[in-house]
């Protein structure tokens, strides 16, 4: 390969130096387009990050089901019969399902913002108390910051142990006090704290999730006289199984098990995180697409601008091109020159727009960080892959912008070019 000739670059710089205002104006469109793309894609990502952080402690393939009242008479039963699930139903479901990996029974005490139900010494608070089994963290993951979660031994022996959220700890314990091994009183029954957890994710949901207490399902039934009644099921759908299909199949099984009409739509309630996730996913997909589309339109306008300016520039420099050809410039050298100028202008402008865009995003990001809680908008960012993709698009657009001016420059015969004024 021949050594790079510095004059090739000097020629390009001369174009800009000779008419800086024009170079600036013609680049403005492309720069603005790139800036727009970076900002919109980055902001969309920021919104996405915020929502994802709020959904952080939710497992994408989880689903919740509970028994309600029948809406159809069936096998001699009247409609309006209220259905109930118990541990035997859970075991039966686990045995017969084709769609689920895990079924966790769950029962709860002291509903949302109920009266104070938990006390320890002089401290008292109102918390959700859940009876669950040892598999529960798979459905609703959190971080065990101290001690452990419930284990099969706790369930078999119906131990009076509990795992508390970090907000429960702050309410019931003094600063610096170690809750592990301490006793707390839940509706008059004493439980020993064996673990403390912290929810994943941030936001209001996570804060609420930090105010729960988990005790063995079996202990719950005995201590609070609910026996083996199951309030609802938290389940995990098998990988690669469609969420809607799994939901319907599970409902069908439960209807069968509970002797309800197979077509009864209201007998079993259900809520699928997977479907929720899919919806959110498609919203963000659409948002990304729209922001890219608008950016691309801005970019296209910029490219048309550059093409236009280059055409004018070639018209003005017809004489110069004629002189160059009289001095032995081959068509290829003319192509290199015009295409080079267009690429140079476009890419310079594009890079400026990109740098400004990324800079603004970073600024916004640090601003939000400093401001603390940012609600649903956090970490507006753009990843390297997107940047590279945009660069490739930019290069393509620059080539596109150069085609017409280059063809124009080549179409002028040397003698005509030399004869032109200017």
């Amino acid at each position: 390969m021949r050594a790079f000739d510095p004059d090739r670059l000097i020629e390009l710089v001369q174009v800009i130096v000779r008419n800086p205002m024009r170079a600036f104006l013609s680049s403005l469109g492309v720069g603005w387009g790139l800036f727009m793309i970076i900002i919109t894609v980055g902001s969309a990502r920021g919104l996405e990050n915020g929502v994802r952080a709020d959904m952080g402690n939710d497992v994408a393939n989880s689903m919740f089901m509970w028994a309600q009242s029948t809406s159809k008479p069936y096998k001699g039963f009247q409609r309006g019969r209220s259905l109930e699930l118990n541990l035997a139903d859970v075991a039966w479901l686990e045995e017969n399902t084709q769609h689920l990996d895990l079924v966790v029974p769950e029962i709860q005490l002291g509903g949302y913002r109920g009266s104070n139900n938990v006390t320890r010494a002089a401290h008292t608070g109102a918390f959700d108390v859940h009876g669950v089994d040892e598999n529960y963290p798979q459905v609703n993951p959190f971080r065990i910051t101290r001690g452990r979660f419930l284990n099969p031994g706790d369930l078999n022996a119906q131990r009076k142990v509990c795992v508390i959220g970090n907000r429960v700890e702050t309410v019931l314990f003094d600063k610096g006090e170690d809750p592990l091994g301490e006793m707390i009183q839940i509706q008059g029954v004493l439980f020993r704290v064996v673990g403390v957890y912290k929810p994943k994710g941030t936001g209001e949901d996570a804060e609420n999730a930090a105010e729960s207490i988990y005790i063995p399902f079996t202990t719950f039934g005995k201590a609070f006289q609910t026996g083996d009644r199951v309030e609802w099921l938290s389940v995990l759908i098998r990988p690669n199984v469609d969420a809607a299909e799994a939901e319907q199949a599970t409902k069908d099984l439960l209807l069968l098990r509970l002797n309800a009409h197979p077509e009864d739509k209201r007998a079993i309630g259900g809520w699928s995180m997977a479907e929720e996730f899919q919806q959110v996913e498609s919203v963000f997909g659409a948002m990304r697409l729209v922001s890219l589309l608008f950016g691309a339109l801005a970019l296209l306008a910029g490219v048309i601008g550059i093409t236009n300016i280059m055409l004018i520039s070639i018209k003005e420099r017809t004489k110069e091109l004629g002189i160059r050809r009289s001095l032995g410039a081959t068509p290829r050298r003319i192509i290199q020159q015009i295409l080079g100028e267009t690429l140079f202008l476009t890419i310079l402008a594009g890079l400026c727009g990109m740098v400004l865009g990324v800079g603004l995003l970073e600024l916004l990001d640090s601003f939000i960080e400093d401001g603390g809680d940012a609600g649903v908008f956090r970490h507006p960012e753009i990843d390297l892959k997107t940047v590279l993709n945009v660069l490739i698009i930019l290069l393509g657009m620059a080539l596109l912008a150069g085609i017409l001016p280059t063809l124009r420059a080549l179409s002028i015969r040397p003698v005509v070019a030399l004869r032109s004024e200017g």
Partner: protein, 240 residues
């Protein structure tokens, strides 16, 4: 050797064709110094452009050193312009935003000669033209005579076989014109063919051979002293 046979060329005109060259037969040997004269519109520049491969022709044949020029691609023409031909124009045709040195070095840029050597040779050529001290001036900062010296340096830098000059003194006063002719004579003495289009008898007189065009035809061709002798023909060289 340049050899034209029955060259014809016309320009498209609204409602037809304007014939400009109507059968030119011409042979110019290597190392000749030739003036082309004729009244305005007689086709002098057109002929020079054909010779310089800047323009095409409609009929006839053109051989440069036995090579047929009529079938050249634009790329091949560019190669010939780069290696064999040098141009000097009445309006200098310097690139305004480039310094004298950059202008002179440009043909070597298109020959892909390294920058350092380009600069060296361009400076040497400016020195030969006696304007090395103006190497870094822009054309707008030069006098007409200086501009034409830069243009001649640029035409000569590739050591072409042929210099084609279209009224090189047309924009200069008589003293400067003479200096330009001194340079061209000196160039010719090194064996380079020089072809000059001119209106001026004084200029033609400094060439060895003069060709007179009229209405796209060669009407006279011979020793300059004979062709431009006004009394022998009953008209002044510039009239008719």
């Amino acid at each position: 050797m340049l050899s034209l046979r029955s060259i014809e060329k016309s320009y498209p005109l609204a409602g037809g064709q304007l014939p400009v060259l109507k059968g030119i037969d011409l042979i110019i040997e290597q190392g000749e110094m030739v003036a082309i004269m004729g009244s305005s519109g007689s086709g002098k520049s057109t002929l020079l452009n054909v010779l310089g491969l800047l323009d095409n022709f409609d009929a006839g044949s053109y051989h440069l050193d036995e090579v047929d020029m009529s079938e050249l691609s634009e790329r091949q023409s560019a190669r010939y312009r780069s290696r064999f031909l040098g141009f000097v124009f009445q309006s200098f045709n310097l690139i305004a935003f480039k310094s004298a040195l950059e202008n002179v070095a440009l043909p070597l840029f298109y020959q892909k000669i390294p920058r350092r050597e380009r600069q060296k040779r361009a400076l040497a050529m400016l020195e030969r033209m006696g304007i090395a001290d103006r190497a870094h001036h822009l054309p707008s900062e030069l006098s007409g005579g200086q501009k034409q010296r830069v243009a001649m340096a640029r035409a000569l830098i590739t050591t072409p076989r042929v210099i084609l000059a279209d009224e090189p003194t047309g924009a200069l006063d008589s003293v400067t014109s003479n200096e330009v002719m001194d340079v061209l004579r000196e160039v010719n003495s090194t064996g380079i063919t020089v072809i000059i289009v001119t209106h001026e008898a004084d200029i033609a007189a400094r060439c060895d051979r003069t060709i007179r065009l009229k209405d796209g035809r060669i009407i006279e061709d011979g020793n300059s002293k004979v062709v431009i002798e006004p009394t022998a023909h009953g008209y002044t060289p510039d009239a008719s």
